[in-house]
Amino acid sequence: MRAVGIIFSNIHDNNIPELVRVRSFGSIPFGGRYRLIDFPLSNMVNSGMDTVGIITKSNYQSLMDHVGSGKDWDLARKDGGVIILPPFGDVESNTLYNTRLEALKGITSFLFRADEEYVVMTDCDSVCRINYNEVLDYHIKSQADITLVYKKRVPISNSIDYGTTFEIQDGRIVNLSYNSPLENKQANVFINVFVMKRSLLQNIVMDSISHNKKSFTNDIIAENLKSMKIMGFEHKGFYAGISSLQAYYESNMAMLDSSNRNEIFGDRSVFTKIRDSAPTKYGNTAVVKNSMIADGCVIEGEVENSIIFRNVKVGRGAKIKNSIIMQNSVLGENCTLNCIITDKNVTVKDRVCLSGNDNHPFYVGKGIMI
C-alpha cells in the first residue's frame, strides 16, 4: 500500500471531558456497538492500508482492550498491521505530549521504520466514510505538499470547539483561522485528516524538534501556506464531528436517519471488536419506535428515538425517549428518561424520572446508580 496510517486517539480530550474521564477519545462508545476509533480504522482498512499506528496518551486501557491484536479489522499481521504507540514521555520534565507535533516527536522510530511513501493522519473525532485512496490520488495529481480534508458545513451550535476553518482558492488553502465564531455561516471546516509524503512529515518532525515548535496547525500549516502547496480536499459525504457532548448526542441521533445510517453502515464495512451477546429479546409489553438497539438487550418497556447499546435491560413500564443508553445499563420498571446519556453500567431504579433537554442532554457517569 502507498500510505501508512496514523491515528491520534487522544487529541480532542478537552471537548468532552465527561466521556474521556475513564477512557481515551477513540474509545468513546458510539452508535450502539461501536467506538469512535472504529470509523477511522475501518476507513483505513477499506482504503487498503495495512499498517496503522495508533498514538495514545492516557487512559488507553479501554482502547487497547478494544483494538487488541487488530484481528477484527484484519490488521493482525506479521508484516505491518495495527500498532499501538504508547506515549513517549519526557523524562526530564516528567510530562506527556500536549500537541499533535509533540505526539509525532514521540513516534519518530515508527515513522522511520515504515516503508510506505505517504502517510495519512487522522483523529477520532468524526464519524464519516472517507476513501483515503481518493484523497491520495488528489494529493498526487495536484502535486501538493500537504493535503487537508475539510467539510463544508455550519458548525454545530453551542460547541466550545469551532475547529479550524479554511479559505480556499482553486483548491489551495490560502488562509486559515482557528476557533473563530462563525455565526451559523457555512464554512470549510477542517476534519483533521492530513495526507503528505512520509519523508516530508519526517522532516517536519525533525525540524520541529530542533526548533522547538509545538503546534502542527499554527507552526507548520499556517506558517507555510505560501512556501508549500497545501491543498484542501472536500469530503462530500455524511460527516458528524464530535466536538462537544451536545455534538456527540446529535451525531448519535443522526444515525436514526435511514440515509445517514445506510451511508455509514449500509455495506457492513465498519469493523469493530466482536463480542458475543445473545440476540435481543422483546417482551410482550415492549413498544419500540425509531430506535437502534444492539444485541443482548432485554426490552420490556417503551423505547423511542433512542440508541441502546449492548446488554441493556429496559424494565416494564419504563419510558425511554431521545436517550443514549450505553452497555450493561439497567433501567428499572416505570422509570422515565428523556434526553439522557447514561455511560456504561448505570442503574436507574424503578419509578425514577430523569430529563435533560434536546439541546442539553443530561449525562450520567459510568457505574452510577440513581
Binding site: 452508535g31 450502539g32 456497538r33 461501536y34 484481528k71 436514526l256 435511514s258 445510517r261 455509514i264 453502515f265 457492513r268 465498519v270 469493523f271 469493530t272 466482536i274 463480542r275 458475543d276 451477546s277 445473545a278 440476540p279 435481543t280 429479546k281 422483546y282 417482551g283 410482550n284 415492549a286 413498544v287 419500540v288 419506535k289 425509531n290 430506535s291 437502534m292 438497539i293 444492539a294 444485541d295 443482548g296 432485554v298 426490552i299 420490556e300 423505547v303 440508541i307 441502546i308 447499546f309
Partner: protein, 399 residues
Amino acid sequence: MIRKKKCVAMLLAGGQGSRLYALTNNIAKPAVSFGGKYRIIDFPLSNCVNSGIDTVGVLTQYQPLVLNDYIGNGQPWDLDRSYGGVHILSPYQGKTSSDWYKGTANAIYQNIHFIKQFNPDYVLILSGDHIYKMNYAKMINYHILSNSDCTIAAIKVPIEEASRFGILNTKEDGTIYEFEEKPKKPKSTLASMGIYVFSAQKLYKYLEEDSVAPNSSNDFGKDILPKMLNSGEKMMAYQFEGYWKDVGTITSLFEANMDLLGNKPVFDVADNSWKIQSRSPLAPPQYIGDSAKTDNSIIMSGCEIFGSVENSVLASDVKVGKGSLIKNSIIMSDVTIGENSVVEYAIIDENTIIGDNVVIGAPKETDKGITVVGRGLAISNNAKIDGGQMIESNVKGDN
C-alpha cells in the same frame, strides 16, 4: 514431559438431516441456523470449551462447505490453539483404501490417528444435532469414579415417546445391562443422548475389531456398544437433567426455537454462566422503525423492522417492510420481506427475498403445519403459499 490431552472430543457432524428437507439441501444439519444467531454446532462446541475440552475433531461429510467456513480456525470458540483446538476431519484418500464414512464408528475409526496423536485417556463422542447445555467434565468425572469403560449420557423421556429412542436398561447403580433400540414396549424411559465417553484404549480395541468384523454396519449404537456389553465391559448410564432437544425434524427445530421466547424461557441462551459462543455477524445494531411492533420476539443485529413481529425469531440482517406481519415464525439471516406481506407459522431460510403482498403459511390452528421456504429463493409480489408447504424453488405471484 510428553504432552497429552486428558480428553479428545469427536463431533459427528456429517449427518445429512434429511428430515429437515429444504433446510439441509445445501448444508449439513449441524450448520442449520438456530435461535437468531447460532448454528446447531455451537452448542456441542461451546459445551466442550466450557467443560475445559480444547481438542475437538469435527467429522464432516455431507455438504461441508458452510460448516467448514463457519468453524474456520475455531477462533470464535477460543479453539484456535497451537496444541489441540478444533480440526475439521473430512473423509480422505488413503494409500490402500479410501472411502466415505460408512457409519459413526467407521468415521471415528478412520480418524483414529488423529485421536492417538494427543494420547488421551478418554474420548468423548458427540453428535451435532442437539440443542442443550451440558458440562461434559462432570460426565467424565462420573466415568472415572465409577471405573467405567464406556459411559452413555441418558435422559428421561415421556413413556409415550420412549419407543423413538435407544433405551438403556440399568441397575440401581447406573450399570447398563441391556440396550433396546426403539423398543415397542420400553422397559425404561432412560433414553440415550448419543453422547459417549470411552476409555481410550477400550475404544481403540473395539473400533479395530469392528473394522474387520464381517456384516458390521460400523455404527456405535448398533455394533460397538452391544459388542462391548456382550464382552462384559463396564458400561454406565450418566443421567442428565436439563433441557435437551433433538432438532432433527422441522417440528422439533421449530419448537426448540420457540422455547427461547418469553420472559422465563424454557431454554435460556442469554444465561452468561454457560455461554454459547458463535461466529458473530458484523452488522450495526438493529433498527426498529416508527410503524414497527415487536412483541415477544428475538431479533438480531442488522435487522430493520418497519412491520409487526410477534412470537418470532429473526436472525441478523432481516428486513421487514411496512405493514407486514411476521407471526410465530423463524426468519433466518439476510431475508428481505417487502410491504404488506404476511408470514405465519413458517420457517424462511437464509438469503430469501419475499416481495410485497405475499402470504406465506397458515395459522397454527388450521393444522396445516409449518411452511418452509428454502434458502436463496425469490417469492414474487402477490404470491400465496399455503400452510404446510415445502418450497424449494422460486414462486411467482399472480399480477
